[in-house]
Every structure is written in C-alpha cells, then in structure tokens.
Amino acid sequence: MPDPIHQFELHPIVPIKVFGWDVSFTNSSLFMLASVLLITAFFMLSMRARALVPGRLQSLAEITHEFVAGMVRECTGSAGMAFFPLVFTIFMFIFTCNMLGMIPGFFTVTSHIIVTAALAALVFLMVIIVGFAKNGIGFLKLFIPQGVPIPILPLVVLIEIISFLSRPVSHSVRLFANMLAGHITLKVFGGFVVMLIGAGTFAVLSPLPLAMAIALTALEVLVAFLQAYVFTMLTCMYLNDALHPGH
C-alpha cells in the first residue's frame, strides 16, 4: 500500500545553508511561491481592464474583494478596514495554497503545522501590538470580564489569560489538522482502490473506495474553502478584540 504520509515530505530543491541553518528552497517553498505568483497574476490580469462594467475575471476579483471586505467590516466595524490588506492577503494565501493542494500530485503547504503556526503567530503578535498601541494599558480590560465579584477575580483573570494564550494554538492546529487529515483520508481510499485491483476476485469491490474517494474529494474542496474562511474569520474576531477590548 502506498504510504499516505509520503505526500507531506519535504525535499530540498535548491540546498542553501546560512550560518549552519538549513534554509533550502524546498517543494513547500516552491508551492508558496507558486500561490503568491498565481494570486498576483490573477489580480493583475483581472483588473487590467479596470472597466466600470466588469468582465468575467474582473467580477471574480471584485466578488473576492467584497467577500473579505464584508467579513472585516462585519466583525471589526469600519476601524478594522485599516487591516483589510493583511486579512485579504491571509485569506488569498491560505485559500490558494489549500486549492493548489487539491490538485493530485501537488504539495499542500497548509498541511504543515509550522506554516499555519507562523500565520497564527503573526496574527497573535499583531493583535497584542495593535491592542496596546490603540488602547494602551486599557487593552488588559480584555482579561477582566464585567460583573465578576472581586474575590474570584484573580482566578477568572488567570483563566482568561490561558484562554487568550490558547488562541494561536487552536488557530493554527485547526487549519493544519483539517488539511492533513483530509489528504491522508483521500490517499488511504486511493490506496484501497489499488490494493483491491491487485487482489484477484476482490477487484469487483474496487469501485466502492473509488466512489468514496470521489465523494471525499468534493468534501475536501469544500473544507479547503471553509478552513480558509474560518481562519480569516477568526483573524477578524481577534482583531476586533484588539480594537475594542472589554466587550
């Protein structure tokens, strides 16, 4: 049976060493670069006409923009629109990486926790910095829920701090786990088809896992979009905490 984990292996394409650190250009780097180029090319091409009445490509670009802008505006109010470029970049990057990963034989960048953790850490640090920059010490109100009696306040604050610190963990694990699990499942069902075909009379059963793999592929495309959406949505919600603490 083909190894379902094999698809997540990193191979250096251009080995680079800086002060003993391995910073090789890997297949993961290649697909990150590919998705960035793809996104850039898509927006350059689609917005080239800059028509008042948009064409097909331009409509697609505008719908994407409206979708994310609506999400940011709904979650954080108009104050959050200053962070729209960042949120939009995060959404497009994750979405494109997820979708590229759905093409057979392609590498899924977001199935590595180091990538999702870096993205989550970026959001987490930005929330802390923006929170203190905008509200000063008032940002700490985030840890003090309203209407809590004084005697148990230290306990509640401690719990709120743990809850706050757990955000980047859940933020990164969710995206990574979804992509990893989905791709392993697909590979396993694909492997079943190959095994059954090689198993003599049992080959008549091989369409069953094949049908399952097809159904799972459809589900995975949905998951690829939903997880990009959820990641972006949570980014907006955390940003809202930074902009308006004490809610």
Partner: protein, 136 residues
C-alpha cells in the same frame, strides 16, 4: 388583433365543449410538468443545502474540538513549565491543567455564542435568539 380566438368572429367567443375539455387537459398537463420540475429543483437545492450544512457543521465541530484541546494543552504547558522552574512538581501542573480545562470550556461557550449569533443573523432571529419566553 389577429389570432385564432378572433377567427370565429364576434359573438362566437365561447369554446365548444370539446375545445374546453382539451384546453383543461392541456392546462392540467402543463401544471403537472411544472410541478415535476419544481419538485426536482427543490430536491436539488435541498441536496446542495444539505452538503453545505454538513461541511459547515464539520468545520464548526472541528473548531470546538480545537478550542477545547488547545486551552487544555496551553494550561498544562504553563503548569509544567512553572513546575520545572519552581520545583513544585506536580502541583502547579495539576492546578493549571484544570484551569486550562475551564478556559477551554469558556472558549467553546464563547465560540458557540458566536455561532448562535451567526445563525440568528442568517435566519432573521428565529434560532438561538434568547426569547423572552419559551411559548413563541
């Protein structure tokens, strides 16, 4: 105004019995066909809606699980680190593990409240809205 209805001339607008029954037959035939198409479309929409709901449900489920587990891990991690630092093994680990669990439950409750608000906004407040009484 040209048309088959006018060919009979004035005063003869009434359909004959045969024409009337044929016309009624055609009408009911058309109605049947429309009903069939409508039912098919509704079933297709229902299936699409079902799949979307299932995907959304799975996303929310994974989200709740991640919220709970992450807080327990972080709480336990803080406790473990403090124990290593202060040499108080295992007490702080136990305390922070429990606190982490509490934080996880709070995370899930918060996430669920948010989900309810989303659903309420989408369905016009029919679901998940804290109703003044249970009767309506």
């Amino acid at each position: 105004m040209p048309g088959p209805a006018n060919d009979r001339g004035p005063g003869e607008r009434q359909m004959t019995e045969r024409e009337r029954s044929a016309f009624a037959g055609r009408i009911s035939d058309l109605g049947d066909r429309l009903d069939k198409i409508k039912a098919q479309r509704r079933a297709e929409e229902g299936a699409d809606h079902d799949a979307a709901l299932r995907g959304r449900g799975m996303a929310y489920g994974m989200r709740m699980a991640a919220e709970l587990v992450a807080a327990v891990l972080v709480g336990g991690g803080i406790g473990y680190a403090l124990d290593r630092w202060l040499g108080s093994t295992p007490w702080l680990f136990l305390l922070f593990f429990v606190l982490g669990f509490v934080a996880g439950v709070i995370n899930v409750v918060k996430a669920y409240e948010r989900l309810q608000m989303d659903i309420a906004a989408r369905t016009g407040g029919r679901l998940g809205h804290p109703a003044p009484d249970e009767e309506d």
